[in-house]
Amino acid sequence: MNIDRRHFLIMLPAAAVAWKYVLAGTPEDSPNYKMSDHWWSMLIDIPKCIGCGNCVRACAAENDVPDGHFRTWVERYHVTDYDMVNPEVISPDGGKEGFPAVAEDAGKYFFVPKMCNHCADSPCTQVCPVGATFVAPDGVVLVDQTYCLGCAYCVQACPYGCRYIHPEKRVADKCTLCYHRITKGLTTACAENCPTGARQLCDLKDPNDPIHAFLKTHHVQVLKPQMATGAKVFYNELDGSVR
């Protein structure tokens, strides 16, 4: 083949554009895990939650969550008969050590565990200026901490307050839905350690997952549906006063 200098120069840009696709490696560490086979979500069964804080402690132990920051936390709502729209919400240290006891039974109390909703149309990933956070092909919202600048744009974009800036790494950190566990066939640390089964990991692409039957037969909501985030954390029997 006879290429003169002129043709070589013409072909150079095309080669540069194609080269990165040639070199792209395979990222999947778990050999039997196929991202395209899953669409992860979580079910939180409000009537089962006893506010013990086991999920918060388990999450911190599994993911080295720094003190004072939370990838998941539990809120206790107290809704009184005379003011339905302004519930009293407490979450002492994220509910890590449980909640103070309540003696009298005025109004209604319930616990709401919160975490990243792993939105399908997530506001946090849309605002990232560098492509450091993204919805993975299996529906989990992740942060590439080697790429994150720590600008915290995503922290303020999340309508659920599920992100924080890691105090030492100075980059965005959040719930990974225990990505290192679910890709190995384990459930998340919070679901594994929930004593009452109030949290369940669900795979919406698995036709045999009990979530499909559950969603058909229960009153299930997501948080802030009006924001059209495509939230995938389903709450069973969620009270209307929850924000």
Binding site: L23, P27, G51, A136, Y179, P195
Partner: protein, 156 residues
Amino acid sequence: MNRFKDTGHLLRFVALFVMAFVAFLIIRHFVVPKSFGEYGHYRGAAIGEIAARPVRFAGHQTCETCHADILATKAPGKHANVNCEACHGPLARHADDPSITPPKLDTAVLCIRCHAASAAKPKNFPQVDADQHAGGVPCETCHKPHDPALADGGAK
């Protein structure tokens, strides 16, 4: 009439642009990570890196491969669906190397985390005021944590 007689300066200008563009592509090739854009506007290899983080909680399936006797003890009781590490803590290191012994547990702390009486808890969940219920006697004197119902079948 030769309109394009003096176009040399324009060609030099175009050549400059082409060179800058090629330089841009070459630099871009070196600074953009190789897997960027593989699945979307992010580094595809990040997914594998996150999946490779260490596991701390082994999971009850792992526990049950060795401790089938405890599983049998738990099966008829109220704690049948409470996973091992919910009380025993993260024990993936113990599962990898059984010579690492799990820490001793204190039922005075553990039981009350879930069972302390509070009007805020679901009504059907068993709750006790620890002082009133036992008066400082340790829980495991009467209730065995793996099958907490009393042996004589009296109270649940």
